[in-house]
Amino acid sequence: MAFPQGDSKALKAYGLPTNVLVDYLLLSRPCSVVREVTVQALDQLDKAAGSSSAQTRAVFTGKPGCGKSYVLLQAVQYAIQKDWVTLYIPRGIALVNSSTPYVYDPRTQTYGQPAFAQQLLKRFVDVNERLIKDLKVQGSYPLKETAINSSSPLLDMINIGIESQESAPTVLSALLTELSKQTKFPVLLAIDDFQALYSLSTYRDPYFKMVKAYHLTLPRTLLEFASGKQSFARGAVLGALSSQNTTFRPPLELTEALGLLPDVPSNPYVRREPELIEYAKGLRNFPVPEQLTVDEAASIFDIWHSVKALHVARGDEVFLTKYTEAGGNAREFVRKSLLQTVAM
C-alpha cells in the first residue's frame, strides 16, 4: 500500500489533541486507520452538507481509548478536503482551564478570552483563507475602532480581530454569525473535549466564584451552535467527549441528553441546571465501537512496524497476543501493548 503524499498544513495550523499528538510525534508520518465508524461519520457529513447544522449535531462517545478524537480528526480532514469551512478546536479544555487571560465584556455580559480568540482567528484564516477570501460581510457589527458594514470582505473583519487582541472575541462571534448566514460553503464546527463546554471553568469572578463555561463568550457561542439556537445554513456541529482530564468530566445534564450511563448513580432529586439542559437539547449520540476489529489492529501493527518503532517480532502470534492483552481497545493496544515493548 502506498501512502499518498501531501502536506499537513491544516494539521499544523489547528494543532492536535494531546493524545493524538503523542502518537504523531513517534510516527514518522501522521496517519490513522479508516474504520467503519469513520465511514459512517463521513457519510453523515455528506448528508449534512446541504442542510442546516441544527439537524446534524453529533457527539462521539465511547469508552476511554476507543478512538473518538481520531474519528473527529478524520472528519475534520475530510471536511477540509471537501471544501468545507472548518473551525476545529482540538483541546476544548484550553477554553476553560484558565490558561489564557479573560476580560469581562459589559456589552455581552460575558467574559471574553482575547488571546485565545486571536489565536483561533489566525488559525482559521490559515486553514480557510482560500475559501473565504471572496465572502462578504452580510450584517453590521459594532467594533471599537471601526464599524464593519455590509459588503466589506470578511477577511478584513477577521484581520481586525487578528491585529487587535481586545476586539478578537467580538470578531470571532461576528465571524461565526456571518458563517451561519452564508450558503456558499458548508461549515463544520468541531470541538474535542466537548464536555468542557458544559462544566465549571477554573476562572474566578470578582466574588471568587468559579465562572460557568456558558458565561465565557466563546464557549457560549459554541454552545449556542451545539444546541441549535444558532445554526449554520449549511453544515454540521461535531463534538467528541474525552475522559483524559478528570477535572472536567461530562456533567449529568450532558450524559442524560446523550443517553449515556452517568459516572455516579443519580436520581430524579439531583439538581440539574436548566441552562445546561437547554444547551444539551437535541444532541445526538454517535457511539464509537469499543474494540478495534482485527483488520484495523493489524493495520496499526503494520504501521508501527514499518516505522521500526517496535522491538517485537512481526508475526501473527505476537500481534494476536498484543491484541488480546489490550482487549481490542485502541489506546491500550498502541500505548501499553505495542509501545511498552520498547524499553524507554
Binding site: 500500500m1 502506498a2 501512502f3 499518498p4 503524499q5 501531501g6 502536506d7 499537513s8 498544513k9 491544516a10 494539521l11 508520518r29 501522521p30 496517519c31 490513522s32 486507520v33 479508516v34 474504520r35 467503519e36 465511514v39 459512517q40 463521513l42 457519510d43 455528506d46 480528526l73 478524520q74 480532514q77 475530510y78 477540509i80 478536503q81 471537501k82 476489529t293 482485527v294 483488520d295 484495523e296 493489524a298 493495520s299 503494520d302 504501521i303 502470534e317 494476536l320 497476543t321 491484541y323 488480546t324 492483552e325 489490550a326 482487549g327 481490542g328 481497545n329 491500550e332 501499553k336 501493548s337 511498552q340
Partner: protein, 358 residues
C-alpha cells in the same frame, strides 16, 4: 458283646495286652452297655482341625486359584514374561483390608505373620490379574477380580484417587469451570470455545462486505473524495495511492472478562495482562477460547496469577494435547509461595533490627 468284639478284634490284631477292662464272664449278662454315640459328621474340610478353618480355607482357595491362573497364563504364553514387557506393565496398586478387618472376615484374630502370608498370596493373584488385563483377557481378569474383591477395602477407589485431580466437567454449553489460586486470591473461571469468525473468504474487492481496513494519510491534499458507498474497500479502490488493499483476515479473538470488566481495564499493568494471556500463548490457542473469570482477594499480582492458573487448567481440559506443554511451562502448578510470617525479635519476616555492638 461289644467287649467281646473288642477282645476279638484286639486278639485278631495280635495285641498281647488288653485294651479294655476285664469283665468276668458271669457279669457279662448284667453288663450295661454304653449308648452308641451318634455318628460324628465328617468335617467339611480338613482345615477343621487347624483351629482357624476359615483362614486356611481362604488361603488354600487363593493358592489353588493362583495355581490355576498360572497354568492358564502359561497356556496363553503370558508367563514367563520377558524383561522389557515386565518393566512396561502399568503400576500395581493393592488396597487390601487391614489385619483387623481381615480377622473379622475370618472370624479369628490374625497374627501378623498369617496376615502377611495372606497378603502375599493376594498380591501374587493381583499380579496375574494385571497381566490378564493388560493382555486383553477380560474374562479371566474379571474372574480373578471377583476373588480378590472380597478382600479389598470398601473405600479402595477413594484411596486410589488420592492425589489425583478431579476431571474438569463441562456443562451443557461446553463451558469448563476451573479454580485457580495464588497468594491470597482465588479465581473462578469459565472458559468456552469462541465462535469461529464469520465472514466471506478473503476476496477484498467487493464493496458491500464486512470491514476491511486501510490506512490513509490524514492530511493528504491529493486524497480524493470518499465515495458515497459506505465501506473501506470501496474507499481503497478509489484512492490513487492504493493498488490493491490487503486481503481481509477473519480471525476469532479471545475476549477475557474479569469480574465483568475487560482485561485491559481490570489490570492496568502490562505485566499482569501478559501473565494472564501467557497460557494461551504457550498452548498456541490465542483466539480459540473466551474467558469469564470472577476473582476475589489479594492484590493485582495474586489475582492475575490465580486467573492464569485457572485458565491453564481450563485449556488442559478443553485441549488435552497441550497439557504437557503447560506442565513444562509450570503453568499448571499452583505457586505455593505465600507471605512469610513475621517473627519475634525481627522487624519483618527476615529483616533484622540494627545490630548494636554494645
Amino acid at each position: 458283646m461289644n467287649i467281646a468284639r473288642h477282645v476279638a478284634k484286639s486278639a485278631f490284631r495280635f495285641r498281647t495286652y488288653a485294651t479294655t477292662a476285664y469283665v468276668p464272664p458271669a457279669s457279662l449278662a448284667t453288663l450295661q452297655r454304653a449308648r452308641v454315640p451318634p455318628p460324628k459328621p465328617k468335617p467339611e474340610s480338613p482345615t477343621f482341625y487347624t483351629g482357624r478353618a476359615t483362614y486356611y480355607d481362604q488361603l488354600l482357595a487363593l493358592e489353588s486359584a493362583a495355581k490355576h491362573t498360572r497354568s492358564a497364563l502359561q497356556e496363553l504364553e503370558l508367563l514367563p514374561l520377558p524383561r522389557f514387557a515386565q518393566e512396561n506393565l502399568p503400576p500395581l496398586y493393592g488396597v487390601w483390608k487391614n489385619k483387623l478387618d481381615l480377622g473379622e472376615l475370618m472370624s479369628a484374630k490374625l497374627t501378623t505373620s498369617r496376615y502377611r502370608r495372606f497378603i502375599a498370596q493376594l498380591n501374587q493373584l493381583n499380579e496375574y490379574r494385571r497381566l490378564a488385563e493388560v493382555a486383553g483377557h477380560v474374562e479371566l481378569a474379571e474372574r480373578i477380580q471377583r476373588v480378590l474383591g472380597m478382600f479389598e477395602r470398601d473405600n479402595k477407589d477413594a484411596i486410589l484417587a488420592r492425589g489425583k485431580r478431579k476431571p474438569v466437567k463441562f456443562d451443557e454449553y461446553g463451558r469448563s469451570y476451573t479454580i485457580g489460586r495464588r497468594k491470597e486470591s482465588t479465581a473462578r473461571c469459565w472458559v468456552i470455545a469462541a465462535q469461529p469468525a464469520e465472514g466471506e473468504s478473503a476476496s477484498s474487492a467487493t464493496p458491500s462486505e464486512a470491514t476491511e481496513e486501510v490506512t490513509t494519510e490524514v492530511t493528504a491534499s491529493q486524497t480524493p473524495d470518499v465515495p458515497e458507498s459506505s465501506s473501506p474497500p470501496a474507499i481503497a479502490a478509489s484512492i490513487e495511492g492504493f493498488e490493491s488493499p490487503a486481503p481481509s483476515v477473519k480471525v476469532s479473538t479471545t475476549n477475557i472478562l474479569i469480574n465483568n470488566i475487560p482485561l485491559s481495564e481490570y489490570f492496568p499493568h502490562v505485566s499482569d495482562r501478559e501473565r494472564v494471556v501467557r497460557p494461551f500463548r504457550i498452548a498456541g490457542l490465542l483466539g480459540a477460547y473466551n474467558v469469564f473469570a470472577i476473582v476475589r482477594g489479594g492484590g493485582s499480582t495474586g489475582q492475575s496469577g490465580a486467573v492464569t492458573l485457572a485458565i491453564a487448567k481450563a485449556l488442559a481440559a478443553h485441549a488435552p494435547d497441550v497439557e504437557p506443554l503447560l506442565r513444562k511451562a509450570k503453568l499448571l502448578k499452583r505457586d505455593p509461595r505465600m507471605v512469610e510470617r513475621k517473627k519475634t525479635g525481627r522487624a519483618k519476616a527476615r529483616k533484622a533490627y540494627t545490630w548494636v555492638k554494645r
